[in-house]
């Protein structure tokens, strides 16, 4: 049913429909509306969950880890500094193969303090073993939560997931969202069946220490699960599409890319602006297309290679910077296209919530076509003086 709703509320409703048994979360802007909405649902008994009002994000994810190990479906949400505080637990959840699902209302990391959007927070957890899905709009942000539970808890995968959607730009924006009914959600997200659980009737130990004789194999096993997710995510997307009509079967999504000379590569809400800018450029006769990255982890190397095989220039929009190197998405794209002659230009853009307009996208394309990439786009020279 189509509802005009705030992104955070739509996400909270979808999460509630996934029937988490334990929720642990801590307030942080711009994520807070999600966990407030879930708290209301618990208070009104519209969902049947234990809600742990922890004293920090670090404890939020630690409590989720414990509850997951004891056999419950769990949920948390955070952003920015909160995610940074969870750093250690993030690696632990993946290492212990706990299928936690967590929403990230993406926000910049301090210092300087910023509450506004970029992707530095989740990108900084790139190597933690969590799947990372990025949403373009609130419909996608909502739907990816059903998908994340289904795939994370799949016994072929057993990895935690971030569902990333841009702070404020999506989290606080009202848009029409087609919500599933509870029956539809139940038919798509099966009842949680833990692979192992803490159980006095069948005692096992979780979280042992591994000597050099064993550690590498654990890491390899996580990576193998990520590899399997390259198949299981699209499979879950296809089922979603067959059941509800919206297509998330691709780890990437192409827009007007078939005959494009220049491809823009981007993640998240900026893709909406890029699509509008592409329509304008197309009207003016420029052959420009978009490759949207939906899954950053696992990174869809083959899909990227296939989608970009026919273009002559690539412009990557990175809402993050690996300081001392490049944007994280551009590094992946260059790796995927290694051996091809396609130039990949990196644009660090929109850090800390700086607005991006259609004309900025056109300027990026002009820059890439002129071969002058690898820049911070839109720096204010007067501030740097």
């Amino acid at each position: 049913m189509l509802e005009i709703t705030e992104g955070s509320h739509a996400v909270a409703k979808a999460v509630g429909q996934c029937r988490p048994q334990v929720i642990a979360a801590y307030p942080i802007t711009p994520q807070t509306h999600i966990v407030e909405t879930l708290a209301d649902m618990v208070a009104d008994c519209t969902i049947d969950a234990e809600y742990i009002t922890v004293e920090s994000e670090f404890s939020a994810l630690s409590a989720c880890l414990g509850a997951s190990a004891a056999g419950s479906r769990v949920y948390s949400a955070t952003t920015s500094q909160g995610l940074a505080l969870m750093f250690e637990v993030c690696f632990n959840c993946a290492g212990m193969r706990m299928p936690v699902v967590m929403s990230i209302a993406n926000r910049a990391l301090g210092a300087p303090l910023s509450i506004w959007n970029d992707h530095q927070d989740s990108i900084s957890l790139r190597d933690s073993g969590w799947m990372q899905l990025y949403a373009e709009d609130n419909q996608e942000a909502t739907d990816l939560h059903y998908l994340a539970y289904r795939v994370s808890e799949d016994h072929r995968i057993l990895l935690p997931s971030f569902v990333c959607f841009d702070g404020f730009i999506l989290s606080h924006t009202y848009e029409p969202v087609d919500m599933l009914t509870q029956e539809q959600a139940d038919s798509y997200v099966p009842v949680f069946k833990p692979y192992h659980r803490l159980d006095a009737a069948d005692p096992i130990s979780f979280g042992l220490f591994a000597s050099p004789d064993y550690y590498m194999e654990f890491r390899y096993a996580i990576d193998q699960a990520m590899n399997r997710a390259r198949t299981v995510l699209p499979e879950a997307g296809r089922v979603f599409s067959e059941m509800f009509g919206r297509d998330y079967s691709g780890l990437v999504e192409a827009y007007r890319l078939d005959d494009a000379d220049c491809a823009i590569v981007a993640m998240g809400s900026i893709c909406g602006t890029v699509k509008d800018a592409i329509d304008e450029m197309r009207d003016a006769g420029k052959k420009v297309g978009l490759l949207k990255i939906r899954a950053f982890r696992p990174f869809p190397v083959k899909e990227v290679q296939k989608a970009l095989s026919g273009v002559s220039t690539v412009a990557v929009l990175d809402k993050n910077i690996s300081l001392g190197s490049k944007g994280a998405v551009a590094l992946e794209i260059r790796d995927a296209l290694y051996g091809s002659q396609i130039p990949v230009h990196d644009y660090i853009i929109a850090l800390g919530g700086r607005d991006v307009r259609r004309k900025d996208i056109a300027a990026v394309v002009a820059s890439a076509e002129a071969g002058s990439g690898d820049i911070y786009y839109g720096l204010r020279e007067e501030v740097l003086k």
């Binding site: 048994q21 922890v54 004293e55 989720c64 250690e88 005692p203 220490f209 064993y214």
Partner: protein, 299 residues
């Protein structure tokens, strides 16, 4: 030990603890008291490392370790998950004094304030032993550790022990107790009481560390007893914030305890430091007065 008796031991032999390790004794006694329907949440530390080198484990109850500082938070999640499933297992979080007094106190405070139904047991060996004997908030006054070494201008650790039981009692914990591995029946009784008391309960177990304190492994129990007999460690129970039971002793001078341990050797060699020993005696005297532990012998 008889064979059927051995089968009931829930913390198994074959772990890698030092000979005479009080933490290993504590693990065994805790599970003896709590029984098999117990889920243990360990913090990183000696006990975690010596009991679970993959692919082996000494734990015959369900056991989980996540990080150094988060066992209270993990336990919170376990407790609420069990509640949601209608399951009845008891949850015990176990941590060393570093995990409990220092790095994990945020999670511990949060979990106690929220009132989860679990028991937290600190095995207190009064320093970071797993990393090589560094001082913690539980290290006693004048103890020499690798980060509070005695030296030409140092008498060792400059601060007295943090009063963590009082801090947790102030959270409204229904049951707080101190215990010692030197008194096993008392320790077991306290564990039984804690796991059967609804809400968050705390037990701090004095766990002398032969490696870190510098004494022979066969003296662990004797050292534990001396701590009690000198008044430097007091075994007591607090219910609803009030002290309800205290172990009384005929007090011995503190130097009988100090002189047995290398961590206090600088107070006796190269020459006896009466001024510092007097300060430690004053700590014991204050404990004796505060808790009323003294048994006065009739002359």
């Amino acid at each position: 030990m008889k064979e059927d008796e051995a089968a009931c031991v829930l913390f198994d032999a074959g772990h890698r603890a030092c000979g005479g390790c009080a933490a290993a004794m504590a693990a065994r006694l805790i599970l003896d008291a709590a029984g098999k329907d117990t889920i243990v949440v360990s913090s990183t530390g000696c006990m975690e490392v010596f009991s679970t080198p993959y692919p082996e484990t000494a734990w015959k109850v369900p056991w989980i370790h996540s990080l150094f500082e988060n066992n209270s938070a993990v336990a919170s999640g376990v407790v609420e998950s069990l509640k949601k499933q209608g399951r009845k297992e008891k949850v015990i979080a176990i941590g060393g004094d570093g995990a409990t007094f220092d790095i994990g106190i945020l999670c511990l405070s949060g979990a106690f304030e929220r009132g989860h139904d679990f028991t937290y047991i600190c095995y207190d060996n009064e320093a970071y032993m797993n990393t090589g004997i560094q001082r913690s908030g539980a290290t006693p006054y004048d103890a020499s550790t690798t980060t509070s070494p005695a030296g030409k201008c140092s008498f060792g650790n400059r601060r007295p022990k943090k009063d963590l039981p009082a801090i947790l009692a102030a959270h409204g914990a229904p049951y707080v107790a101190t215990a010692s591995i030197a008194y096993p029946p008392d320790l077991k009784k306290k564990v039984e009481k804690a796991v059967n008391t609804p809400g968050p309960c705390y037990i701090q177990v004095h766990a002398p560390c032969c490696t870190g304190w510098g004494f022979e492994g066969e003296k662990t129990i004797a050292i534990g007893k001396l701590a009690i007999e000198t008044g430097l460690w007091v075994n007591y129970e607090m219910e609803e914030g009030k002290i309800t039971k205290v172990k009384k002793v005929v007090r011995k001078p503190v130097e009988e305890y100090l002189k047995e341990q290398k961590r206090f050797r600088h107070l006796f060699k190269p020459k006896r430091n009466d001024a510092e020993i007097a300060k430690i005696q004053a700590i014991a005297d204050r404990n004796a007065e505060k808790f009323g532990i003294e048994i006065k012998l009739k002359k």
